[in-house]
């Protein structure tokens, strides 16, 4: 039976008919988009008018996030900006360290077991006057239970004295750049880098595998998707053990699971051969709502962690060059085998030297296994320059830029990491499009909030959190940004045949909006409210998810 939905406006991303009034759906797929009269030609139908005052868009596609955000919401939210949790509660942003302490105290009294750790996330002390949070401040919350708070960047953790003591860090004589010491010779409570954070994080309630989703976390993540209008989301770096895959398939297969998850196998911990063999097996296990069979390679570190690999002249503050997370030979081996077996690879780069390596390596691999349908994608690629975009275009590569970074850390990049000139061309969406490079934009949730409309706003306005426009020239239009969060992102996932636009034959995936994002002022794009989604013809309202 066909259902025809009427809407105030349907933005299709199909250039033949960019906006329509009705869309017909059968068996979870789109029969057609047009006027009611046109669609009636398909035969019997039920007219569903619940969206008559709403605006429909293709279901939004988040091309770079981590489902683990669902799990992190079980920790206390300590961010500077307001953020909505999976159940729709908006946690107000915390304007000072005192407010952070206050929130932690509120949560602390709810814990019954005196030994239970108090775990928080998303704190960002760069917004606070002294830019640091110390163990003594967290000791005000408790001196008897371990407390750990992951910073928004994911690269730093702040802990109290008890957590340090439990991990045997509360002593003099520690010499490690990741463990700053106070005047008393003891750690200040700030821990930088995964190797330093892990032993303490485990005591402070963080699970062993920070990136691996669990069942309740996956369900909560799906709730966040509905609230953000997202119908397809990636889980961009997973180990994908057999147990995790079984669980992922089972959980997403539930009738009321509202989102399609695409989980990419992370390159770490296995050789290129093992990686390819694992992904070949995963590919066969793929279901409609749990897509498998792609690879995530991480080439370098992060810019704000000074671990990204930079070309000359390097970091603005003179920090030494960053780290490689893969050897060039291993990258080449992965790329060659992936091309041979039609496996798509997404590669994280942040620094421009890392991007050069990816370009050079793919060029070499393509000589061995020529194809123009590989859609290898650079993820983040925050410092890609003009020459590199031209080479990306020539190699048929795609890019998925971290547009949200401008807002959250743009001022840091301007003042500290790369300096004004390069900060203004970070995540250069305009230059990407001008060179014909297929573009997506992302949140990297949980690092920044999952909300493609907010991400689109970032790419359109390029406003930093201090309110400056950073890189006027690299702004893109609202239409381009909306394309990037639908068909653009679908293209980078090689799913544009199935999703990304509202046209005959595709999955009936819609974002249901209260306002028209093409009619509001460009600087209000982030304020367009989301009613919910339709995913494969199933209606999910944010209000009762």
């Amino acid at each position: 039976m066909t259902t025809i939905y009427s809407a105030k406006k349907i933005i299709t991303m199909n250039p033949t008919r960019p906006t329509v009034s009705h869309v017909a759906v059968r068996d979870g797929r789109i029969v057609g988009a047009g006027s009611l009269t046109e669609l009636a030609g398909f035969g019997d139908y039920t007219l569903d008018e619940r969206f008559t005052d709403k605006v429909l868009m293709p279901g939004l596609v988040e091309g770079h996030c981590h489902t683990v955000e669902g799990k992190w919401w079980r920790y206390v939210y300590c961010g500077f900006h307001d953020r909505m949790d999976p159940h729709g509660k908006v946690w107000s942003g915390l304007a000072s360290i005192d407010q952070v302490i206050e929130r932690l105290m509120e949560q602390e009294v709810t814990l019954v077991d005196p030994a239970e750790p108090l775990t928080g996330w998303a704190i960002d002390p760069i917004y606070y006057s002294d830019r640091k949070i110390t163990r003594q401040q967290l000791d005000r919350v408790s001196t008897t239970r371990p407390i750990g708070i992951m910073h928004a960047s994911g690269h730093i953790m702040s802990v109290n004295s008890k957590a340090l003591e439990m991990a045997d860090y509360l002593r003099t004589g520690i010499e490690h750049e990741g463990v700053p010491l106070g005047d008393d010779g003891l750690p200040t409570g700030e821990l930088k880098g995964p190797d330093v954070m892990r032993p303490v994080g485990q005591k402070a309630g963080f699970s062993d595998n920070m990136l691996e989703f669990d069942e309740p976390g996956l369900i909560d993540f799906a709730r966040l998707c509905v609230r953000a209008g997202v119908t397809t989301a990636t889980d961009l770096a997973a180990e994908l053990s057999e147990a995790t895959v079984d669980m992922g398939i089972r959980v997403t297969d539930a009738d009321n699971f509202p989102v399609r998850i695409m989980s990419l196998r992370f390159h770490h911990g296995v050789t290129p051969n093992e990686l390819i063999e694992h992904v070949k097996i995963l590919r066969e296990q793929s279901t409609d709502r749990f897509r498998l069979g792609k690879i995530k390679v991480v080439a370098d570190g992060s810019i704000q962690g000074f671990s990204a690999r930079m070309n000359w002249p390097g970091y603005f503050n003179g920090a030494p060059n960053g780290l490689w997370y893969i050897a060039p030979e291993q990258m080449l081996a992965i790329y060659e085998m992936a091309l041979e077996f039609d496996i798509q690879v997404h590669t994280h780069t942040n620094g421009d030297e890392a991007t050069d390596l990816v370009l050079e390596t793919l060029e070499a691999a393509l000589k061995k296994h020529p194809t123009n349908h590989h859609r290898f994608t650079i993820q983040h690629g925050q410092l890609i320059n003009g020459a590199q975009y031209r080479r990306l275009a020539k190699l048929n590569m795609c890019v998925n830029h971290f547009a949200n970074h401008h807002f959250y850390w743009g001022d840091e990049h301007y003042n500290l990491t790369v300096g004004p000139e390069r900060a203004e061309r970070m995540n250069a969406c305009r230059t990407a499009l001008d060179n014909g490079v297929p573009l997506a934009i992302h949140s990297d949730a949980p690092i920044t909030p999952l909300s493609p409309l907010f991400t689109a706003w970032c790419a359109v306005n390029r406003i930093t959190s201090s309110g400056r426009v950073q890189g006027e020239h690299e702004k893109i239009t609202v239409d381009e940004a909306l394309y990037a969060i639908t068909l653009g992102a679908a293209y980078t996932l090689d799913l544009d045949r199935e999703i990304g636009s509202i046209e005959a034959g595709k999955h009936a995936d819609f974002a249901v909006l209260e306002d028209d994002p093409t009619a509001v002022a460009a600087d209000k794009l982030k304020d367009v409210s989301v009613w919910g989604t339709v995913q494969a013809g199933r209606v999910f309202s944010a209000s009762d998810i």
Binding site: G269, T271, A327, E353
Partner: protein
């Protein structure tokens, strides 16, 4: 709290021979319970005949050794080792080809259950000159070598005499901080890297070391006719029958100019307490000696001409006078 477990980090770029060295050490464990942490199991890096069983990320090997893959969470793998039924005698961490072994050492310093004994970095002698200045990866390889307490200059059998001379000259010019040993098929005296099973009494150790060297000789003879380019290891016993400043002595033994690659033993410190001295390449430590040991140091050199007298002279021990 029990004594910290000794850890040696094995670094070096892809293809420098790390896995071969680990296999060599496991083959010559001689009853010492080694735990080897490797980045990934890869294409069977461990000799099949050594493997007794596998459970998850832990492979058990003959003679009580184990091998674990740590993926990207080394601290968790180390934690797992502490939870094993019986603790290993010595731990080797194989760094990934792009890791900086010094950074791993720094992280290890945060975990008091472990004590870093040394960072050994392998260098492929056939390519080190070009790879350490290569595009993209050159600075990583150079940093790995700078992190080394002891460098293993490997694959020397693949070089002509002229090339051999050139690479040695290049090493002299570029890596003055740490000693290196010459090697073929990653073969070095295991005693350089871990303590042989023996009585705490040092007399037994000299013979254990000698037999280890013997087995290396037979290995290299079997696998290569170029064994003459690999280092031959010489043990020197040093008896100091007078109280000395243990820190000063340890630093001297770790000085490249002294000519040693390894020293281990017990001395009477200036304050009349017994101290353990531990030297791997340029890294040294002085700790309180366990009960029931007597003084004496075993030193290992790769220079066949190095004598006890020369070591004593370098360390100024002759000036001490008779005990």
């Amino acid at each position: 709290m029990s004594a910290a477990l000794p850890v040696t980090i094995i670094g070096g770029y892809l293809g420098s021979g790390k896995t071969t060295l680990i296999n060599h050490l496991l083959r010559h464990a001689n009853g010492v319970r080694l735990a080897v942490l490797i980045n990934d199991f890869g294409e069977l890096p461990i000799d099949a005949e050594l493997i007794e069983g596998q459970e998850g990320n832990v492979i058990s090997l003959s003679g009580g050794c184990i091998c674990c893959s740590y993926g990207d969470d080394l601290s968790y793998a180390l934690q797992q080792l502490l939870e094993q039924e019986s603790l290993p005698d010595h731990i080797f961490i194989e760094a990934s080809g792009v890791a900086l072994p010094g950074a791993i050492g720094k992280s290890l310093s945060l975990l008091r259950a472990f004590k870093l004994e040394g960072i050994v970095v392998l260098a492929d002698a056939t390519s080190i000159e070009t790879s350490s200045t290569a595009k993209y990866i050159g600075d990583t390889i150079a940093r790995q070598l700078s992190d080394a307490d002891l460098i293993v200059l490997n694959k020397l059998d693949l070089l002509s005499n002229l090339q051999l001379e050139a690479v040695r000259g290049w090493m002299e010019a570029h890596y003055t901080h740490s000693p290196w040993v010459d090697s073929v098929f990653s073969t070095i005296d295991p005693e350089v890297l871990f303590e042989m099973k023996r009585d705490i009494n040092l007399h037994a150790s000299a013979s254990a070391s000698a037999s280890a060297v013997q087995c290396i000789k037979s290995d290299t003879t079997a696998t290569s006719h170029h064994h003459e380019v690999a280092s031959l290891f010489k043990s020197i016993r040093l008896d100091i029958n007078k109280a000395i400043d243990a820190d000063t002595l340890a630093a001297q033994l770790a000085d490249k100019r002294c000519g040693l690659v390894r020293a281990k033993g017990f001395v009477l410190h200036a304050d009349k307490s017994l101290k353990t001295i531990q030297v791997v390449g340029r890294r040294w430590s002085v700790t309180d000696a366990p009960d029931g040991v007597s003084t004496g140091l075993v030193c290992i050199a790769t220079d066949g001409n190095l004598s006890e007298a020369r070591v004593r002279a370098f360390c100024g021990l002759d000036k001490l006078g008779p005990a």
